[in-house]
């Protein structure tokens, strides 16, 4: 039934690496199907003086698409409507995970660059951001992940590719914490309430897969020596 012959809840090939950028406090690289996404986390640093010293930390999330990331969006450098939207929803999703009260008056930046896009970049970016935040040593309540569910031939399937997203009956990207709290849910297309419930159940059932992917990424990072440039003479 699916364009690439996957089962209804079968995910595309997924690879996660952490600690890939030297000039960031924490970083991650996600390859999910044909998606290639880099995430760098900076901070907590002092919030700019123009911002009133807040009780909680300010979270800045910037999702950007590289000029060569897809056939339709290529060559455009300034953030488009899509990038502005995804930055906003990811910031709201991530602010549920990060313990922002720990860093009053501070600011944390999550910079996301989509090198190559093939459907589901916002959920892949969410996974990368969670891993990069852990790598940066920023306190988070729980790990989280996201999958974009969708409807094809009246059946709910998981992890839509670009064609399935464009030609299917609807897509519902959902991000959850491991405990099963929903932190992001968007919907595009006509989905019945019972179909939505089914999608959420299917996504929550993938918990162990993502937990292992994150665990193994950190296992690889710490199974060897770290880089000595973590030490800086100032």
């Amino acid at each position: 039934m699916r364009a690439d012959g996957r089962g209804i809840d079968e995910l595309r090939k997924l690879r996660l690496e952490v600690g890939v950028l030297k000039n960031a406090k924490g970083s991650a690289y996600v390859e999910w199907g044909m998606n290639k996404i880099l995430v760098g986390v900076y901070g907590p640093e002092e919030a700019p003086p123009a911002v009133e010293r807040a009780e909680r930390c300010i979270l800045k999330v910037e999702y950007r698409m590289a000029t060569f990331c897809s056939l339709e969006e290529h060559g455009k450098y300034t953030p488009n409507r899509r990038a502005v939207e995804i930055s906003k929803v990811l910031r709201e999703a991530l602010s549920n995970l990060i313990i922002l009260e720990n860093y009053p008056g501070g600011m944390i930046e999550v910079q996301i660059l989509v090198l190559q896009a093939e459907g589901g970049t916002r959920v892949a970016s969410f996974l990368g951001a969670v891993a990069a935040l852990i790598d940066a040593g920023i306190a988070i309540r729980d790990i989280g992940y996201g999958i974009s569910a969708g409807k094809i031939n009246n059946t709910i399937v998981l992890d839509l590719s670009k064609e399935e997203d464009n030609l299917g009956q609807g897509d519902i990207p959902i991000c959850v914490t491991r405990r099963g709290d929903i932190v992001l849910l968007q919907s595009d297309g006509k989905i019945q309430p019972e179909e939505l419930e089914r999608a959420i159940d299917m996504i929550i059932s993938k918990r162990d897969v993502f937990e292992n992917i994150i665990r193994e990424a950190f296992m690889r990072r710490y199974s060897k020596e770290l880089d000595s440039d973590l030490v800086k003479v100032i």
Partner: protein, 173 residues
């Protein structure tokens, strides 16, 4: 080796390796009485100095009650006050080199009951001051070797047999 992730258990917010009781990475959050090292970055006229401690906010040193004047770029060591904004019991660290490490590696630099610190001083003859915020000041002795040892500690903090490795690589004085 097993990786412990945030949320694995109640109250776990950082990533750990099982058997090592400090997080692998942890952004520094000031706590009362912490010894920290910082650099004077500004003076609020005759009231206070602003000190950068490489955290998400700068500390203040009140001029009232201070027996010396500080100037910009001075490196100081002191304790975080109970209000989490002032630095108390400060001393100026003159000369030397200031380096920054990930704060989560500081316990390894100090070692059990300060053993690692003594070990480093024995090998290189450098005098070291350690801030919980990840800043380390050093002066005298073989500074280059001291930096190399600190780099080694950061790279291998999560690998067994750190003290032996350092003795083997850098030798006793």
């Amino acid at each position: 080796m097993r990786v412990v992730l945030p949320g694995d258990r109640e109250g776990i917010y950082y990533m750990y390796l099982e058997g090592i009781d400090v997080p692998m990475q942890q952004a520094y959050i000031p706590r009362p009485k912490d010894t920290v090292i910082g650099k004077v970055i500004a003076e609020k006229k005759n009231v206070a100095y602003i000190v950068d401690i490489s955290s998400f906010y700068a500390m203040t040193v009140l001029i009232k009650g201070l027996d010396t004047r500080l100037k910009q770029e001075d490196i100081i060591i002191g304790n975080v006050g109970d209000n989490l904004e002032n630095l108390e019991n400060i001393r100026v660290l003159k000369g030397g080199v200031l380096i920054e490490l990930p704060p989560s590696k500081i316990p390894r630099v100090i070692g059990t009951r300060g053993e690692m610190l003594k070990h480093i001083s024995n090998i290189t003859g450098s005098k070291l001051e350690i801030g919980k915020n990840g800043l380390v000041w050093m002066n005298g002795g073989k500074l280059h070797t001291t930096i190399k040892i600190l780099e080694t500690i950061v790279r291998r903090a999560h690998i067994r047999g750190l003290t032996d490795y350092i003795s083997k690589e850098f030798g006793e004085r």
